[in-house]
């Protein structure tokens, strides 16, 4: 049956109202549970306590130290993962034979929890950032290489044959068909890879580390300092949301320009 267009508009305001209500309700429940002491303050500290911990945290040398380590680790890990991923993905994706040979293996590997291999990295590289760099690079490599393979192998052979018949050189085909055609998918892979690297670095820091944001969270947990732990979690979640928005916009813009 037909839905008049104005009904959809009316619905949008209801949707916004519901969403606002959800946010308010969650906050209200948080305040209610903590002020009535219905929940152990260890599991759920009061909002004010978290805000207090946040204000005490931000700007301290401990804060910048942890943030610095995590940022540095993530940046290096991502640089390795993206370079290796795009390069390997390019050479594999260009060749149908190599794609058939390696793609299933790579997808299969990506499907298992690679965190299992983290203890190996700790054994080999120690508790410092190196083990997290290696682990983050490994985990981030997979979505990037898989998407790059998909991007390059998915180019319609018809375009290639058509270009060939027009006398295009290899370089020209690369520049005018392969790269623009694969670009959007590769870019998506790079974005996903970033978040996987970031999450893996945090995970590694949480599991075994002496420094970094992940370690800070685990450490506060050990000390039963819930407000401080929640403060760190809030920081990480906010940063992730902002990064996600920024990278999505970057991805959309970059795709539009080709």
């Amino acid at each position: 049956m037909l839905t008049p267009a104005n009904a959809e508009l009316r619905q949008t305001s209801i949707v916004r109202a519901i969403q606002l209500a959800v946010v308010v309700a969650v906050f209200a429940i948080w305040v209610g549970l903590t002020s009535s002491h219905a929940v152990n303050a260890l599991f759920l500290p009061a909002p004010l306590a978290v805000v207090g911990a946040l204000s005490r945290l931000i700007g301290t040398s401990g804060f910048w130290g942890a943030v610095g380590v995590t940022t540095f680790t993530t940046a290096i890990a991502y640089a390795i993962a993206s370079t290796a991923g795009v390069v390997c993905g390019f050479f594999i994706g260009r060749s149908p034979r190599l794609t058939t040979a390696y793609r299933p293996v790579l997808s299969g590997l990506f499907a298992i929890p690679l965190t299992l291999f983290f203890p190996l990295f700790v054994v080999m590289f120690g508790l410092g950032p190196s083990s997290k760099i290696a682990f983050g690079a490994l985990y981030g490599f997979f979505p990037i290489v898989l998407n790059t393979i998909a991007g390059f192998s998915g180019i319609d052979r018809l375009f290639l044959r058509s270009a060939q018949s027009q006398g295009a050189t290899r370089v020209q085909m690369l520049r005018y068909i392969f790269v623009p055609g694969a670009w959007p998918i590769v870019l998506t892979g790079l974005r996903i890879g970033f978040f996987i690297t970031f999450a893996s670095v945090l995970g590694g820091e949480t599991l075994s580390s002496a420094s970094g944001v992940g370690h800070a969270i685990a450490h506060e947990g050990d000390l039963l300092e819930s407000p401080a732990m929640f403060a760190w979690i809030a920081i990480v979640l906010s940063v992730t949301i902002v990064l996600n928005l920024v990278l999505s916009v970057v991805e959309k813009r970059a795709v539009r320009s080709t």
Partner: protein, 271 residues
Amino acid sequence: MPPAIVVDRVSQLFPGANGAPDARALDEVSLEIKRGEFVCLLGPSGCGKSTLLNIIGGLLAPSSGSVKIGETVVRGPLPSDVAFVFQESTLLPWYTVLENFRVSLEFQGRTDGWREHSMAALTEVGMQGFAGYYPSQLSIGMKQRINMARGIALDTAILLMDEPFAALDEQTRLVLGEDLSVLLARTGKTIVFVTHSLSEAVLLADRIVVMTARPGKIKSIIAVGEPHPRSPDFMLQPHFSEIRNQCYELLRDEIRSTVDAMREARDAHTG
């Protein structure tokens, strides 16, 4: 005997989205269709022929005007009187062909003897060997054949068909068209058939309702006057070409104005 279908000054207005003006799809269309007639609705894209079909079948309520099927005013689907055949196969992909028939008949409220009934309908279109197949295992032509068979199995007096052969190749179209003609002659069903193919309209219809471009009105009704069952040989007769040319003359201006309207809309958008 009262006419099978009476369309009385039906108009259809679609509200505009986001402040755009309302679109008038149909404008005071009136039509009487006799029992056992094969009527084609022919017109350019967007002229509202599918909309009209949906209104006749009770899937859509008209903005004004009414439709009567026999003595009853149409207020919703009439599963025991009207069966639809759509352009794409509406066989449910997760059931086999036979299961699809069972479910469709169950919708209609008929559960006794469904198996014999379904197999009989399938045999009519020659698809009895595929009863146990899933739709994904069949070609488009086979699926549309089975779609038609299901329309037959529903055993209604009226069959409403919305460009059912549009996705098929020429040869399959001719064969299925012939089957349809035979069916009509044998059962006396009333068929309303939407198409944008001139040849198909002339080949199959007793009367061709030529519609204008949007807003859709009836421009002219042309009688074909050739008894059913018809064979593709009819296409070789001079009579066929005369009627076809007549239709073309009527449509030519309509198609042109549709193209002009599209051009205007595009220029308004980019300007």
